[in-house]
Amino acid sequence: MQEKDFLEKMAEIMDTEAELSMDTVLKDVEEWDSLSYVAFLAFGATIAKEKIWPADVKAAETLRDLYNLLMGDK
């Protein structure tokens, strides 16, 4: 998955209008909450190469961290 597609998907998952980049800090996005965690996990379960662990999602600090989880490269 390209970074551009990933950022679009993340805007959809979080249902946010915030400007997103790979370096966006998740805690600065108001919509990065428990609903977004599970939506990300659901998305990850269908496309990730390796199993994504809930603890890794919670520990992610930036969008790049989440991208790396999806690409199996933490």
Partner: protein, 344 residues
């Protein structure tokens, strides 16, 4: 456990929800802004919840569902066993099935018991019913499932408040020479804490102030939402894939997949993960909520109400949740009478 049971058919299914429907926004009032509540409802696909009024218990909803089935042609004197599956029984003891036996005027010559299970309960119930049919010698099993889970939602926990709905259902399981049901049932006790009501049993008493429950999460259901999601999208699809393999059925052969209506995100992700078209795995609980063990029969009765239910021959059923537990089955519903959803 993987296995087959022959000579069993689901003859009838009926479900009853509450007349009282509450919007997610109203349910989470004072906790979430209208904008956040609407975003939550969009994410879960659940906009309104069936909330039983205080004097209505799970057994009342199930009673109505059973009476609807008897009113549509089944004879109560043919019942040889009654199984009531719930986590929200009327009393700690005795089993609510005995009150239901009396209330439904069922014969004395029957087997009756309660089972404490949630979202996997309907498929478990079919398995239990199917296992005892030979013993019943031609008589049928009345299976009743349901919960008033809305009462287990902690008043500050928007995660559960926004999805937990109440419903009760009933089904008649009988004998038939040709039908066969293939089951795959698994238990994951190491994750028992993922959906836990800690107080109210004998290990820890409920905390109360007068007649009221104390505002303490331990009195209510504590859900590890991320853990439940991971379970639903890792362990559940694995269970279903193994079932297909054992039954030598290709996933594409399935006409319909009726899975626990946890929320629409879980249902659509499960369809994607298994490679089943989303249209074949419907979500119809938008205005009812997640109704625990009743959710599969509610889905069937909602499909019937919308004119979507046909005599499907190859149907996947999968219930999963509290325990943690997964029970999946491949059934033939071409001879099943499904009643439209009722209200109480």
């Amino acid at each position: 456990m993987l296995g087959k049971l022959s000579g069993v058919v689901i003859e009838a299914v009926g479900a009853v929800v509450s007349k009282n429907r509450v919007s997610v926004e109203a349910r989470c009032k004072n906790l979430l802004s209208a904008k956040k509540a609407s975003r939550l409802a969009k994410g879960t696909g659940i906009h309104k919840l069936s909330i039983a009024v205080p004097e209505v218990c799970t057994s009342d909803l199930c009673y109505q569902a059973a009476e609807k089935i008897f009113a549509s042609g089944w004879d109560r004197n043919d019942i040889g066993a009654l199984i009531f599956i719930t986590q929200t029984a009327d009393y700690l003891t005795p089993a609510t099935s005995y009150y239901l036996q009396e209330r439904l005027h069922l014969p004395k010559d029957i087997i009756a018991y309660d089972v404490n299970l949630g979202c996997s309960g309907f498929v478990y119930g079919i398995f239990q019913a199917a296992s005892m049919l030979t013993f019943l010698g031609g008589r049928k099993v009345l299976l009743m499932v349901g919960d008033t889970s809305s009462r287990n939602a902690f008043p500050q926990d928007t995660g559960l408040l926004s999805i937990a709905g109440d419903a009760g259902a009933a089904a008649i399981i009988g004998s038939n020479e040709t039908s066969e049901i293939v089951f795959h049932i698994e238990s994951f006790g190491e994750r028992a804490d993922m959906l836990l009501v800690k107080r109210g049993g004998y290990r820890a008493l409920r905390l109360t102030e007068g007649e009221r429950l104390t505002d303490n999460i331990e009195n209510y259901c504590n859900m590890d939402g991320l853990g439940v999601m991971a379970f639903s999208l890792e362990d559940v699809p694995k269970n279903i894939e193994q079932l297909f393999e054992y039954a030598s059925i290709g996933i594409e052969e399935i006409e319909l997949a009726l899975v626990h209506q946890a929320n629409s995100m879980i249902v659509s992700s499960l369809a994607d993960k298994l490679g089943i078209q989303r249209e074949k795995m419907p979500f119809r609980s938008e205005n009812i909520g997640n109704t625990s063990s009743a959710s599969i029969p509610v889905l069937m009765s909602e499909m019937q109400r919308r004119g979507e239910f046909k005599p499907f021959r190859k149907v996947l059923l999968s219930g999963f949740g509290v325990g943690m537990s997964v029970a999946s089955a491949i059934v033939d519903l071409s001879h099943t009478k499904v009643l439209e959803t009722g209200e109480l």
